[in-house]
């Protein structure tokens, strides 16, 4: 037990160091890319107002935000503030970055959580059904669906959903997270769910495909193994056979995929939020990128890196819980 704790501690320590170097490298790269990008932050800040702004005023804006300092000075400035817990102030929102991200993250988290659970559960179920019925029509329909969705851009799926369910049928709102013109105190949970349906559906539809396909492959290989052959010989069949001999084996790739899909989930959310005008982190990312809002973009990049990192970490941990072999290798 004591040994176990030490091993775990060392493992976590290594992970922590990796996380720190990852965030450091990421912030440098992002900062570098932003300072090399052709977007002029002063111009982006002024936007369509360009014709009314004198060059003195441009200079005043640049001074106010310290935009004329060389990039490494600005980076050090930002990094030292960051180490003290201050993520800076967003140029676009003129609010602390932490506040903007916090507000946006709540919306995104709801969206991603729903989509993540749905795609995981449905994807696993689809994979099992397809493998159990290999070659028959349920398998064909599911694989056809998966290949189609896997080769379709997420935002296209979103647009189709939008046009069909919001514009033609009018069943769902065309966007946003709350009903138009209703006071926050009068917005019910039902309203929020109602607005969440289309974007979450889009996101989970896209997420199902890889999980289902991988599960299907894994289950097929399990089903063709010797021990399943032996089980069959003893008379076991159908879903009982799969539950008893297959489930634990196929859970492994499914869980890995599910937790490492955090990055794709995040990417998909950016697009889904754009299509459905859903006020999440994805929308803020696009705005920050196009608006040259370096503090906000850096904040979002670091937060999302942390998010993806935690996803992978959980996958690592679960691995060890599900598969005893992983614990013995000593490769922590």
């Amino acid at each position: 037990m004591k040994l176990n704790l030490m091993v775990y501690g060392k493992w976590f320590g290594m992970k922590l160091i990796r996380l720190c170097t990852l965030l450091l490298a990421l912030s440098i790269v992002t900062f570098g890319l932003m300072s090399l990008s052709p977007i002029d932050p002063v111009q982006a800040y002024i936007g369509a107002d360009a014709m009314r702004v004198s060059s003195e005023q441009r200079q005043a804006i640049a001074d106010y935000w310290g935009l004329d300092d060389p990039p490494h000075v600005r980076y050090l400035h930002w990094a030292s503030a960051m180490l003290q817990g201050d993520m800076g102030t967003s140029m676009l929102y003129r609010e602390p970055v932490a506040d903007v991200i916090g507000e946006r993250f709540l919306h995104s988290a709801a969206l991603m959580a729903v989509a993540w659970l749905a795609s995981g559960v449905i994807g696993l179920a689809f994979g099992i059904v397809a493998a159990a019925n290999k070659g028959r029509w349920p398998d064909r329909i599911i694989t056809w669906y998966c290949y189609t969705i896997a080769s379709t851009p997420a935002y296209w799926v979103g647009l189709v959903m939008l046009v069909v369910f919001a514009v033609w049928l009018g069943w769902f709102p065309v966007g946003l997270a709350v009903p138009a013109g209703v006071m926050a105190s009068d917005v019910t949970l039902l309203d929020r769910i109602y607005h969440l349906v289309l974007p979450a559906l889009t996101l989970s539809m896209v997420g199902i495909a890889p999980i289902a396909l991988h599960t299907r492959e894994k289950l097929l290989s399990v089903l063709s193994s010797d021990y399943v052959l032996y089980a069959r010989a003893r008379g076991e069949k159908g879903y009982t056979l799969i539950r008893q001999h297959g489930l634990r084996n196929i859970l492994l790739p499914a869980v890995t995929l599910q937790f490492t899909s955090f990055s794709e989930l995040f990417g998909g959310a950016v697009l889904a939020e754009q299509v459905f005008s859903y006020p999440g982190l994805g929308q803020a990312t696009v705005e920050a990128g196009l608006g040259g809002d370096v503090p906000l973009l850096l904040g979002i990049v670091l937060c999302s890196a942390l998010f993806v990192f935690i996803g992978n970490l959980i996958a690592d941990l679960l691995y060890r819980l599900i598969d005893p072999r992983m614990r013995k290798g000593g490769e922590w």
């Binding site: 702004v53 804006i61 046009v163």
Partner: protein, 536 residues
């Protein structure tokens, strides 16, 4: 518009197109049209003012500031009329502006609006590092409770535009959160702002002016394609849409195209090549510095064809940067699309096609230059390519290239560039054509200079009344001898003014819209007090 959203637009258009072709026979457009006979409206007219509703950092430059009132405003004929102020006087030397306030204006919390608040607003704006240009303001102070005096560093007749577009904030209720929780003396007050989604406002009972008919407005922050979808789903009363969608008919909505000075035009380098900017970028172009070339291009372009072909008819030909505004000189209108006349101008200027390659030359120099446009702007790209096609038969070769703004900034002094401008402030003409703005930012990128034009513009800037100034601005365009327009130096070839297209609930009357500036969306709210339902 970003590449991504452009792709989205394209794809949405495709999907809608496919659906139309497929027939979608049952016509199951949702019946719930937005026309509720109530005093509420839902609008999707543009992007969110992300940095909030603080006039001292730029809110309300276009359209009504809604929550705040301004000292003066413009009526439909662009005349200055009082708003929160009664009157203003300008001193002999044009540097001192004395403004008298109304004494019955109250903020929505019941406190009176006094000279203190005005001084506070302008001082805050001057030090805020945002987009309000107060660099010419030396000092502003309180004379008594209802009188304010502005002192300028130099006379500036266009200072009135700043008084018209800067909302007054309350000194007693101004704090770090003001942009999120604005409080003012305008026709509406903020009820709720859901970040990234919507803005809900309701009529301010303390408002001293005409009470608006619509008691509650909800602004949805949707992209143009989402706004169109919302309009089709019957979920909004007004949607701002790109002109490319103007052929879409939407049930119980009508299409309104508002005239604008949102213009596009070609800036020519005005001086011969040979010099450099301080940063080392080349200045001047030997072809476009020849007036015959600039005039021939101006005459050869068929502006009506540009409007019909590229803007689907939603635009007007442009002849200056300020078409249709009170300081516009109507003599600048020319008859164009005339290849004969263009050839005559070239020949007269000494250009002839001696080697038979279809391109005129003069002293061994081909009549050939590069026209740049900001890459990714489809409208400007189409305009540039079409213009190149229009002038080729005349013997002028235009090579069209898209560049990023960063590259444009390096190349714009030595190459023609397709720019877009348009403002309700004649100061813009000064920025574009004054010798003092040669090579300053994007303004007079071509290094245009004409002492007579400069003189007229300085006179306009120093004029003590707007009407007098307008007359000088007109003379700068063409005074009978010279000017910056085609008849004079033809420093630019203005092409089109692009209409702003809106889908509007058939039942809704949005009053008289005056010519809109550059920027699609908020300007439509400028006269929001006049909006009402049409009588059935």
């Amino acid at each position: 518009m970003s590449n991504l959203s452009k792709q989205l637009v394209l794809i949405l258009a495709m999907v809608i197109g496919m659906a139309v072709i497929a027939g979608c026979g049952s016509r199951t457009e949702p019946g719930q049209s937005a026309s509720r006979n109530t005093d509420e409206l839902i609008l999707a007219i543009g992007s969110e003012p992300t940095d909030g509703f603080d006039p001292t950092t730029g809110w309300g430059r276009y359209g009504s500031p809604l929550f705040q009132s301004t000292l003066f405003k413009r009526d439909h004929e662009m005349n200055v009329v009082p708003d929160a102020a009664k009157d203003y006087r300008i001193s002999e030397d044009g540097r001192q502006w004395t403004v008298e306030l109304r004494d019955d204006v109250r903020f929505s919390d019941g406190e009176p609006l006094t000279a203190e608040d005005v001084v506070f607003s302008f001082e805050t704006a001057a030090s805020s590092g945002s987009t309000i240009d107060l660099s010419n303001l030396e000092d502003v102070r309180v004379l008594d409770d209802w009188t304010v005096q502005f002192t300028l560093k130099e006379p500036q007749s266009t200072f009135i535009s700043i008084l018209i577009s800067t909302g007054i904030v309350p000194k007693h209720a101004y704090g770090p959160n003001y942009a999120q929780e604005p409080l003012g003396s305008g026709p509406y007050r903020l009820v709720q702002w859901d970040r990234g989604q919507q803005l809900i406002v309701e009529a301010n009972p303390e408002y001293y002016g005409q009470q608006p008919y619509f008691r509650k407005l909800t602004f949805l922050f949707l992209s143009e394609d989402a706004a169109l979808a919302a309009a089709r789903a019957g979920q909004v009363d007004i949607a701002a849409i790109p002109a490319a969608y103007a052929d879409q008919s939407v049930k119980s909505m009508r299409l309104a195209a508002v005239k604008t000075v949102d213009n596009r035009g070609i800036m020519f380098p005005y001086v011969p090549s040979g010099s450099m900017t301080e940063e080392g970028y080349p200045i001047g172009n030997d072809v476009t510095s020849d007036i015959a070339i600039r005039r021939a291009v101006n005459v050869a372009i068929d502006r009506e064809a540009l409007v019909d072909g590229i803007l689907e008819g939603y635009g007007t030909p442009a002849y200056t940067v300020n078409d249709g505004l009170p300081w516009w000189n109507e003599e600048t209108v020319i008859s164009d699309g005339d290849a004969e006349e263009a050839r005559r101008i070239l020949t007269e200027g000494g250009w002839a096609d001696a080697d038979g390659d279809g391109i005129a030359e003069k002293d061994g120099l081909n009549a050939s230059f590069t026209l740049l446009y900001p890459a990714g702007d489809v409208t400007r790209q189409s305009l540039a390519l079409t213009v190149a096609d229009m002038v080729r038969p005349v013997g002028i070769d235009i090579h069209v290239e898209g560049k990023s703004w960063d590259e444009l900034r390096k190349l714009m002094h030595s190459n023609a560039v397709l720019f877009g401008w348009g403002s309700h402030d004649p100061l813009e003409m000064y920025y574009l054509y004054s010798s003092r703005y040669q090579g300053v930012d994007l303004f007079n990128a071509g290094y245009y200079s004409n002492p007579v034009v400069d003189q007229w513009m300085e006179k306009a800037m120093h004029a003590t009344s707007e009407e007098v100034a307008w007359d000088y601005w007109r003379k700068a365009q063409w005074d009978g001898q010279t000017g910056l327009s085609f008849k004079g130096d033809a420093a630019w070839a203005w092409l089109v003014n692009i209409d702003h297209v809106y889908l509007i609930n058939e039942q809704l009357d949005i009053g008289n819209q005056r010519i809109h500036p550059h920027g699609h969306g908020w300007p439509i709210t400028d006269n929001i007090e006049e909006w009402r339902w049409l009588e059935p």
